[in-house]
């Protein structure tokens, strides 16, 4: 069975370590916050100017002045801090943020990522994604292995306009966990019940399979 988006978020949460400052992108990455392992402290950075982001507010306690980068109403946790957008990207650029999790339309075998534009069709803009991928020490991409047409999103080279080059370190898809290094996707884990052959058939870029590939654990 391929993973649903909740399970992808849950698997990514296993990558979190105590003391990490983490930036979570819009969509599945945001959901990672729901699965932070017990006993560790992670501080969430929202690039619109907040460290120490908390859960969504209770009904009736929404505050228009307190939102995340996806424009959703949120709360703060004890120890949080507000700052302006230049300082926010200053901490990203200077490598203070330990982990960035974001979505992608395409990833290439050398770690390039495309997630901001489909020429002639969709022009939403890059937001903070280009700044994040250009500077983050560790980037995990949360994505579906294939697009709705069934075509692989893990490619020898991206076809869409790039967001950043040689930056993706790890991918958690609905089918597999892969490390991106030395110009290839290295298969680390497979979704429960998903065969290595299926992952291979849905990966257009170079896939390295070494030894027995274990099933993911949550």
């Amino acid at each position: 069975m391929s993973l649903d988006k909740f399970q992808i978020a849950k698997r990514i949460a296993k990558e979190l370590q105590d003391g990490f400052y983490v930036n979570l992108g819009i969509g599945i990455p945001t959901m990672v916050a729901n699965y932070i392992p017990e006993g560790i402290k992670v501080v969430l950075q929202s690039e619109n100017g907040l460290l120490g982001m908390g859960p969504f507010p209770e009904e009736g306690k929404e505050d228009a002045d307190l939102i995340n980068a996806g424009k959703q109403t949120i709360t703060t946790l004890p120890g949080s801090a507000f700052f302006d957008s230049a300082m926010s990207f200053g901490m990203i650029r200077s490598g203070k943020v330990d982990l960035t999790v974001l979505g992608a339309m395409e990833v290439s075998e050398n770690g390039d990522i495309a997630n901001w534009k489909i020429p002639g069709k969709m022009v939403k803009g890059m937001g903070g994604a280009m700044d994040l991928v250009a500077s983050a020490k560790n980037i995990i991409v949360a994505m579906m292995h294939t697009n709705p047409k069934g075509e692989s999103k893990l490619l020898p080279a991206c076809k869409l306009p790039l967001t950043g080059v040689k930056c993706v370190k790890k991918i958690v898809s609905d089918l597999a966990v892969m490390e991106v290094k030395d110009g290839a996707f290295h298969l680390l884990e497979r979704a429960p019940g998903v065969s290595v052959e299926e992952i291979q058939s849905k990966t257009a870029g170079k896939l390295v399979i070494q030894g027995d590939i274990p099933e993911m654990e949550f």
């Binding site: 929202s46 690039e47 619109n48 100017g49 907040l50 859960p55 969504f56 507010p57 209770e58 009904e59 009736g60 306690k61 929404e62 505050d63 228009a64 002045d65 307190l66 939102i67 995340n68 980068a69 996806g70 424009k71 959703q72 109403t73 949120i74 703060t76 507000f82 700052f83 302006d84 957008s85 230049a86 926010s88 990207f89 200053g90 990203i92 650029r93 390039d112 002639g120 969709m122 022009v123 939403k124 803009g125 890059m126 937001g127 903070g128 994604a129 280009m130 700044d131 250009a134 500077s135 306009p161 790039l162 967001t163 950043g164 080059v165 040689k166």
Partner: protein
């Protein structure tokens, strides 16, 4: 030194056709609602707007778009506005998409008196086309220029009549940076107080950067994505 104005109409009356204006805010959070409403009312045209987002179809900068008052938009993310996407794809509107950190830092550079910055954001992408690339310590960086703008329109929580400003929560975002960057900076505040009423330790934007200030009225402070945790059933 009189910086105070009665309202947005008075404070923005010399913004003419073709002006380059910065507008603070992230999404609809911390946007200068009163100033935008005043510009919609005067109908000033051919504006170049520098702002992180372009509002939504019926609020924020979206109101200026709907009346075709913009010539050019410089922003990082415009996905919330279908009229924007339509004007962009049809070629009616000139658009420069800028990485968000680059946008913020180009504003900061202006306010700090620096002509340009180097940033890694956009290296190897179409953002880098035509730009100077320089390698520092083995990594490539793009040269990006500080912004020139005629006016900066910002929104603060509290301000005093000397122009000192204090922002609230994530409504701070681009506001202090743009306040520093405007040739003429116009600040609208929810609460305007006398000098001395704000603690000097807590000033986010010193009044030297602010040329005009007024107390705004009828703030809607619209929420773009109202998201809540449902209360547990009793």
């Amino acid at each position: 030194m009189k910086k105070t104005f009665n309202n947005a109409e008075e404070a923005t009356q010399d913004i003419k056709d073709g002006a380059v204006i910065m507008l603070g805010g992230f999404g609809l959070c911390g946007i200068p609602e009163n100033c935008i409403a005043a510009l919609v009312k005067t109908g000033v045209k051919e504006l170049t707007c520098i702002s992180n987002n372009a509002g939504v179809d019926d609020f924020g900068i979206g109101l200026l778009l709907k009346k075709h008052q913009l010539k050019k938009m410089i922003a990082s993310y415009v996905g919330e506005n279908s009229e924007f996407e339509r004007q962009l794809l049809s070629g009616e509107l000139e658009v420069e998409l800028v990485p968000q950190g680059t946008l913020a830092t180009r504003c900061m550079a202006t306010g700090y008196g620096m002509p340009a910055i180097y940033t890694p954001a956009g290296v190897g992408t179409e953002v880098a086309e035509g730009k100077e690339i320089r390698n520092f310590n083995g990594k490539d960086y793009l040269l990006e220029y500080a912004f020139n703008s005629d006016f900066a329109l910002v929104k603060a929580w509290k301000g005093d009549t000397d122009g000192n400003l204090l922002y609230r929560d994530t409504a701070r975002n681009f506001n202090p940076l743009m306040a520093m960057a405007g040739k003429i900076t116009i600040a609208e505040v929810e609460e305007l107080v006398a000098p001395g009423e704000l603690d000097p330790n807590n000033i986010h934007t010193p009044g030297i950067y602010v040329h005009r200030i007024f107390q705004g009225a009828n703030y809607e402070k619209r929420i773009e994505q109202r998201t809540v945790n449902k209360k547990k059933e009793a």
